[in-house]
């Protein structure tokens, strides 16, 4: 039995090592946008971003992860990563991906964080007439409700996006 136990541990370690390799697990610790296209549904978002004015200024995580503390960033990464891998494994995603409420709030904060000088007066003014329940949404609207094509374009269906050469289009 002892040898069987030892053998089973060795097998587990081996399979885990293979899994680490196959899933490119360690790459998720990096901040390189290419990591996000480890899975093909993100190719659309990668390609649209790469053809946008933001490509030289902001990477995926600059907008999509919180920037306040390292701990929050890693927690968000782990949480999103878990949701993504479940969706990927069980194929529960559709062709049109939608942002979660939590992620939307982060992005809004990050828009303002970079564009603070542009929007500071708007924020100050909005405080005077803000009448929304969610205080996380200044002025009652998020930036991209007007700036609809920033940065992923208006068309981001996984099968029908411009510049998306890697996903089957017909």
């Amino acid at each position: 039995m002892k040898y069987l136990a030892i053998f089973s541990v060795v097998v587990v370690v081996g399979v885990f090592a293979n899994l680490v390799n196959e899933s490119k697990m360690l790459s998720y610790l990096s901040s390189d946008p290419k990591v996000c296209v480890n899975c093909h549904p993100m190719i659309t978002h990668y390609e649209t971003w790469q053809h946008s004015s933001h490509r030289d200024r902001a990477t995926c995580i600059d907008c999509h992860l919180p920037r306040d503390t390292f701990v929050n960033k890693m927690l968000a990464k782990a949480r999103d990563g878990y949701h993504h891998s479940v969706a990927m494994t069980f194929k529960t995603y559709g062709y049109n991906l939608r942002i979660s409420a939590d992620a939307a709030k982060r992005i809004q904060d990050n828009c303002i964080s970079c564009h603070r000088e542009n929007v500071s007066q708007m924020l100050a003014n909005s405080a005077l007439y803000e009448k929304v329940e969610d205080s996380g949404v200044q002025m009652g609207r998020r930036c991209w409700q007007c700036h609809r094509d920033v940065p992923h374009g208006t068309m981001r269906n996984l099968t029908a996006t411009q510049n998306n050469f890697s996903v089957k289009v017909f």
């Binding site: 039995m1 089973s8 399979v15 899994l19 196959e22 093909h40 494994t89 029908a160 411009q162 017909f170």
Partner: protein, 499 residues
């Protein structure tokens, strides 16, 4: 309590999901590879419809080039050309080009390619197929370049059966643009401006067109076929000295080359073939970094999909999606501007053809009266150069627009050379008491063909026999070989200048 069974149980419990997850990841990767892969199109596939199964939008737009189907008889529009090309096949039949879809059909139907009765009869060499079909690179690969360029046109009648299509510009394994005609690479190297190693994708978007839309000649090349001496007529670009009319003229002069000897004036003549790329590169659009495809294959969107329109034709059919991408102004203004450019070119071109046709007739008269070669030599040289320049300026598709200044400059040179020839000939004529000689009237195609003694009706009869016999054989044989796609000629109506 024993530890081993617990460790074992835990290990197995951990193992199960890990194995399942690994399998799932592998499965996903395989699927993505299949989706992202370029579809498999077999090497040397020349039927556009086979490519079209994977690229339906490109194929559909390509097939629309069949809408450009009007036959415009240029010899009728300007009968002087019949006189200028006396003794050369172009005096028999010369139409404005139609869509790519008809490239092969028109090549086969024109009176120029004559009426061969088998694979060995003339009048033209195999080289006349060179630009008409993706079957050409296939045959060059199969038989070798020298063998391809050896023999008569009819040799490949049952092999060259698909009109200009996907395989002329695209690599079937990667879909990248590719040069399928080596003579262009040799031309570029000889000219030296653009090294093939430095060619960018944007360059390729013009160079794939330049494989055919360029000036060429058939260079007689001796070769050895396993001990047997053969002569190939190899398509060659005269680019060594440069791309201008004068550069190429010098190239041909140095090489003592002539396409044919004029039947009436005995001039060693040059025939220009659509130097589109050469003139385009002198124009403002090329100098601003544009390629042929930017205007002739503009991007279109269909839903969320963007692709380049393969209905290659005049950008004037689609000004809103071509000119106006970069320029301000209205469609109407653009149309008027281009029409003015065309009218200026036509004005000078008409002067040139009139002068040159007269020069040929006057030279013929001088010979008839007994002029010597010594007396005629310089005048004939002027005719040769004048007609070459006129041809260089007008033979292309749209040079008046691609390079208006260059086109008008070259035409001015043509008129000047033609008048120089006429001055010299007038002196010779005066010497033989014919100072007031006026050549015969060539104001209609019929009159002009009568002057050069062209048996027009006979040519048509022979051609029709060919189309009803050997041509039908070619279609049957190619279908049996599986090369031919009947869609190629679906609903095709015989449209020519003579029927």
């Amino acid at each position: 309590m024993k530890k081993s069974p617990i460790v074992f149980t835990l290990s197995v419990l951990a193992l199960a999901p890990m194995v399942l997850l690994t399998m799932s990841i592998k499965e996903n990767k395989a699927e993505q590879q299949a989706i992202g892969a370029v579809p498999v199109i077999k090497e040397n596939e020349t039927r556009a419809s086979e490519w079209g199964k994977h690229y339906p939008r490109q194929y559909d737009t390509y097939m629309q080039t069949r809408k450009s189907d009007e036959i415009a008889d240029v010899l009728k529009q300007d009968p002087a050309l019949v006189v200028m090309w006396a003794g050369y096949a172009f005096s028999k039949d010369y139409n404005k080009p139609r869509g790519h879809y008809y490239a092969l059909e028109d090549n086969i139907n024109t009176l120029r390619t004559g009426a061969p009765v088998d694979g060995k009869t003339g009048p033209l060499p195999t080289a006349c197929w060179t630009c008409k079909s993706p079957d050409v690179p296939r045959l060059i690969k199969r038989d070798g370049e020298m063998e391809f360029f050896t023999g008569k046109w009819a040799k490949y009648g049952d092999e060259i059966v698909n009109p200009i299509g996907c395989g002329d510009c695209h690599d079937s394994s990667t879909m990248k643009l590719t040069l399928t005609r080596d003579y262009l690479k040799r031309g570029l190297e000889a000219e030296g401006r653009l090294k093939t190693a430095d060619v960018t994708h944007q360059d390729m978007r013009s160079l794939v067109c330049a494989q055919c839309h360029a000036e060429y000649y058939f260079k007689k090349t001796e070769w050895d076929d396993k001990g047997e001496k053969k002569t190939a007529m190899v398509v060659t670009f005269p680019w060594k000295n440069g791309l201008s009319a004068e550069n190429m003229e010098a190239y041909y002069d140095d090489y003592n080359f002539s396409d044919w000897t004029h039947q009436m004036s005995k001039t060693p003549m040059l025939k220009a073939q659509h130097p589109d790329y050469e003139t385009f590169v002198t124009g403002v659009h090329y100098r601003n970094g544009l390629s042929c495809a930017d205007c002739h294959m503009p991007y279109v969107r269909e839903g969320g999909v963007k692709y380049s329109n393969h209905k290659i034709g005049s950008p004037l059919d689609n000004i809103a999606n071509t000119c106006l991408n970069c320029h301000k102004g209205t469609e109407k203004e653009f149309r008027e501007t281009v029409e003015k450019k065309l009218a200026r070119k036509n004005e000078l071109a008409k002067m040139a053809t009139d002068v040159l046709a007269q020069a040929h007739l006057e030279a013929a008269k001088a010979w008839e009266l007994g002029a010597t070669e010594e007396e005629m030599k310089l005048a004939l040289q002027d005719i040769r150069h004048g007609q070459w320049r006129w041809d260089y300026a007008v033979a292309g598709h749209g040079a008046f627009f691609h390079a208006p200044e260059e086109t008008l400059r070259v035409l001015a040179g043509a008129i000047n050379k033609g008048q120089d020839a006429r001055l010299k000939l007038r002196i010779v004529l005066a010497k033989y008491n014919a100072a007031d000689y006026v050549g015969p009237d060539f104001s209609t195609k019929e009159k002009a063909q009568a002057i050069i003694g062209l048996p027009f009706e006979k040519l048509i009869e022979e051609k029709k026999t060919f189309l009803n016999t050997l041509r039908q054989e070619w279609i049957k044989q190619s279908e049996a070989k599986g090369l031919y796609d009947p869609a190629t000629r679906k609903d095709m109506v015989l449209k020519t200048s003579y029927n």
